[in-house]
Symmetry: C2
Subunit: 338 residues, 2 copies
């Protein structure tokens, strides 16, 4: 950003190899997070027809993983107030995917402190689920480690999504990655919960994560938010920096400003296994319908502001829920927060 | 993009200096193109109140140049079919800005082949205009050179905007830059007319332009389109590569998918002369009203498709005008084009 001008030779800056604009890296994995992150804006009330169509779309589009939702504690959350993908029971997944004799793997998210993982996550051999995504903040890493080992012990692939890292100290992050590196986790995720990260900062974060990943034999993933219209840009910055696991959602559906759009990501990726056309069809037939029915998500000025200020989007989400449109007043409110 | 994974040390890739994330480059110039590029979606029918408020907003926001519109030939275009900013007569500008005794400079765009520049552009000493932006395709560079020298001879600052370079051969582009480098032009503009360029490609283009700029003592500018939600990302990529002149429009208003959003750009820039709050106020009070009144622009699936396919957006604009929403069918149509 805004570098003092100097010649490239002086800065030693080199561009990424041009071959990589044409060729592809076979290790890339695309993760569809539509039901899980999208569920945050409609309380997980997706029809079975929608979920089935999404599953078939992911198959046709060459998506590698489909995240069905959260494994939320039914002790903590009232099943009457949420659709079934808040809980993602194995039998509900099974009702959609059957034996899932496909290349598409099934994921769920397990939040630290909000998942009865010891009972609700059964052995992989008996479950349709392949990947457990453990979501944690930096201050709950030890609890995340327990969940990681539980899931790994039951035979699952495991990722760890460290949320809200845009206001994390680099030293703390490195300690966390060192701890996680020594666990059974397979993938370490960069999560820009606030949509506050610029591509240059993403490059630095990817570097920190990649160093840990190389040291401990892990993979790195990225989950971006679109507060500043950078979710796609940050995702392709990361993939250019060696990050393999890429989260996306159809039509960017997700909390607040939403995520990296699947239809942008699949258009970009060069591996011929990925197809953008099924994604366009699904957005056309299903996602635009959700929007027309009044489900609200996506880039808007209130999310720009919280992203810019590196704040949790909760105030912007509240602004949206209240159907406020006094954006300038909202800016004065959020600037006053510390 | 999708590099074969290797360690940073092996690729020699270096990141931009971290200091540049905090500090700023004083040479950066922000150009508000709202009336000109935005005028393409409402036939330049802006009220005087809107234009006056925009002018005052630019002053408060620290914007460096305000582009009022085109200097279109009144022989070629019917004044009854367009608002006044299609023609940007000096007296109309004067009615808004008076003597413009401010730091905000005034720009207009002059299209090769569509501007009676010899008569319609008078000496700068007698005009409120400071900067003539000559817009050309690669195949009309000699005509652009004549316009550049005419404007420079009349005392103006001059930029040359080479449009639609995403489907240009690199060798041709270099020849064009060599020709333009030897003219009186001040700024050479990278213009991603199709919204087809990814940030890594922007870095390469910036490198090509910067080499010419250093050789000939010129500045480089960037004008991005948002077909793939990359207008802002490409603009901040470019500024990180030494590009100084940055086009933006309020609420991204511009042809098709629109441009880099001013409110995103001002939030990003670190020079304390720039203020994002007036931009937020203006979007809140004026741009959202334009949208509510039915003026249509901005990112949508049809623009993603033409951007992805590196096509002129005219088919997508037509799709929008016809209020079509059969996106999947549109994709089949544009894929069939060569």
């Amino acid at each position: 950003m805004q570098h003092f001008k100097r010649k490239r030779e002086e800065t030693g800056k080199k561009m990424k190899e041009i071959a990589s604009l044409i060729q592809y890296r076979p290790n890339v994995k695309v993760v569809d997070a539509t039901l899980r992150d999208g569920g945050l804006v409609n309380d997980f009330y997706f029809t079975d027809e929608f979920v089935k169509a999404l599953y078939l779309t992911n198959l046709r589009a060459g998506v590698d993983y489909m995240e069905f939702g959260y494994k939320a504690s039914s002790e903590m959350f009232d099943a009457d107030k949420f659709g079934k993908w808040k809980f993602s029971r194995d039998e509900d997944i099974r009702a959609i995917v059957g034996e899932n004799a496909t290349d598409l793997k099934i994921a769920v998210m397990a939040d630290v402190g909000r998942c009865d993982y010891k009972t609700d996550i059964i052995n992989r051999a008996d479950s349709p689920i392949d990947l457990i995504r453990v979501a944690t903040y930096l201050n709950t890493i030890p609890a995340a480690v327990e969940m990681i080992e539980d899931a790994a012990g039951k035979g699952y692939e495991v990722s760890c999504n460290i949320m809200a890292i845009s206001n994390t100290q680099e030293g703390d992050l490195k300690v966390a990655l060192d701890i996680l590196g020594q666990t059974s986790v397979d993938v370490l995720y960069i999560v820009d919960s606030y949509g506050a990260i610029y591509p240059e900062q993403m490059a630095r974060l990817a570097d920190i994560y990649m160093n840990a990943a190389v040291k401990y034999g892990k993979k790195v993933g990225v989950h971006a938010h679109n507060n500043q219209q950078l979710a796609f840009a940050n995702t392709i910055e990361a993939v250019g920096d060696g990050v393999d696991w890429l989260d996306a959602t159809y039509a960017s559906m997700g909390r607040g400003a939403g995520n990296c759009a699947m239809e942008l990501l699949l258009g970009f990726l060069r591996n011929p296994k990925y197809n953008v056309y099924p994604a366009i069809q699904f957005v056309d037939s299903y996602m635009n319908k959700l929007k027309a029915e009044g489900v609200v998500w996506g880039y808007d000025l209130q999310y720009l502001m919280t992203g810019l200020l590196n704040q949790h989007p909760r105030t912007a989400i509240q602004f949206t829920k209240e159907k406020r449109n006094d954006y300038a007043e909202f800016y004065r409110e959020v600037v006053a927060q510390d």
